[in-house]
Amino acid sequence: MLRPRIIPCLLLHQGGLVKTDRFGNPKYVGDPVNAVRIFNEKEADEVIVVDIDATVEGREPNFPLIVQLARECRMPLCYGGGIRTVEQAKRIVGSGVEKVSISSAFVERPALVSEIAKEVGNQSVVVTLDVRKPRWGGDYEVCTHNGRRGTGRSLLEFAAEAEAAGAGELLINAIDRDGLMAGYDLELARAARAATHIPLTFLGGAGSLADIEQLIATCGVVGAAAGSLFVFKGAYRAVLITYPGVQQKEALLRDALGAAVPPALTPAAV
């Protein structure tokens, strides 16, 4: 049985690991390589590392750090932040990272995803969409530059475009839930699942394992990513890296999938 993935998401800011709150207010939580070592020991399903400075500062991905992370990581690694060219993506995959995440560069030029997929294979290209529900209602809008720039276009529009361009996975990040630990946006999850045929991962809002269980029960086999949940403990948000144990995770997945009624997928066009 293919299992849903429970994925810690680590944010890089000024050389350290941080956790944000609705995309602002970064709080230092530790050293990235050390965190990866801890998740190795805890047998995490996968790890996502995102450099939140690169695009905003207009600089290249931090290659020496990527090499170091890939070398340490005994689980699959997805890296995002500042990737704008095929060469950069090739270099990152070549240094042993399983997946590269493209976000603002995709929004500016979707064809980049096809070009990268041609070189490294579709399975290694993740398109990350940061989305926000406009205050006046309406469809989820895709934003870039850490949520500061709106695109004026909807999530479903970009999701279809990413799939057509050959992305192997969609990572959907709910900006307004970031750091709040109040649960995933299930409405968003349902809408995205029904509209796409590639693997999906949701990020933003997980505050407990019950939230993850709920997401899986809603969508079936998906990726459930979380930041705060795996780095903070208690009401005072003390920094402590945690991850569910093997037995606990198996029980959670069993219960969640038992309750799951995933929306039926129509056969993918061949």
Binding site: L2, R5, A70, R74, M75
Partner: protein
């Protein structure tokens, strides 16, 4: 400073003891044989080297024919697009030596992910010829009826069921699971070459073996203790 030095010496002596014990326990002198990982510019060589370093099994990378020549066991990694993996391997200058080692001298070889797909005669993903060491062809999930309605790529942790006993899965047969990330799968011409299956819509061969040639579709270097044990088994097989 001196204290630190003493601590280091103590660690080194424990390390030596552990190594000695292992030599005693395993009489087959496998420890002198080096695992050689073929580095043609694709795939996570460091991840394999790291696993073997933790296991205390000597391993190294080969980037040229000269470095490959005396290999006792070979790992052929690979990621991405089939053609974009075959081409650099063919251009690396290692291909003739690799063929000689595997076909004439029967050196055990393990293909991983696209490295496994390269063992076939060819792939629907590209036009390059495969190595042809195991009879079969690589097909797309998208054109396979049972998996057509499922998200592609097949991504995540899946159960792996061995179809017959093999040393490769020693000590991990129970509840074995590995990390998969692929849109194409290996279709064996001879059913007996399938070593293990996984399910995605229906069962497909996710590990293959013919004589000294092994292949796994999943990523043992990224599959925690299951993968570590598998890589250890390959070193000791």
């Amino acid at each position: 400073m001196a204290e630190n030095r003493r601590a280091c010496d103590a660690v080194a002596s424990v390390h030596r003891d552990v190594t000695r014990q292992r030599i005693k326990l395993v009489p087959n002198s496998w420890w002198r044989e080096v695992i050689t990982i073929v580095d043609y510019g694709l795939g996570n060589i460091d991840a394999f080297l790291n696993v073997y370093k933790r296991l205390n099994i000597p391993a190294r990378r080969a980037t040229s024919a000269a470095e490959l020549r005396d290999a006792a066991r070979i790992i052929l990694p690979g990621v991405g697009h089939f053609d974009r993996a075959m081409k650099p391997l063919n251009d690396s200058g290692m291909r003739p030596v690799l063929d000689e080692l595997v076909r004439q001298r029967r050196v055990p070889v393990l293909g991983v992910c696209v490295g496994m797909q390269m063992l076939a005669q060819g792939s629907d993903e590209g036009t390059e010829l495969g190595l042809g060491w195991i009879d079969g062809r690589v097909r797309a999930f998208a054109s396979w009826e049972p998996a057509r309605h499922l998200p592609s790529p097949h991504m995540g942790w899946n159960d792996v069921r061995p179809t017959h006993g093999n040393r490769l899965f020693r000590h991990i047969e129970q509840d074995m699971r590995f990390y998969f990330l692929h849109s194409y799968y290996f279709e064996c011409t001879h059913a007996e070459d399938v070593l293990a299956v996984a399910e995605y819509g229906a069962e497909f061969g996710c590990a293959v073996q013919h004589e000294n040639v092994y292949g796994v579709q999943f990523h043992p270097e990224k599959s925690h203790r299951f993968g570590t044990q598998l890589l250890r088994n390959f070193a000791e097989a």
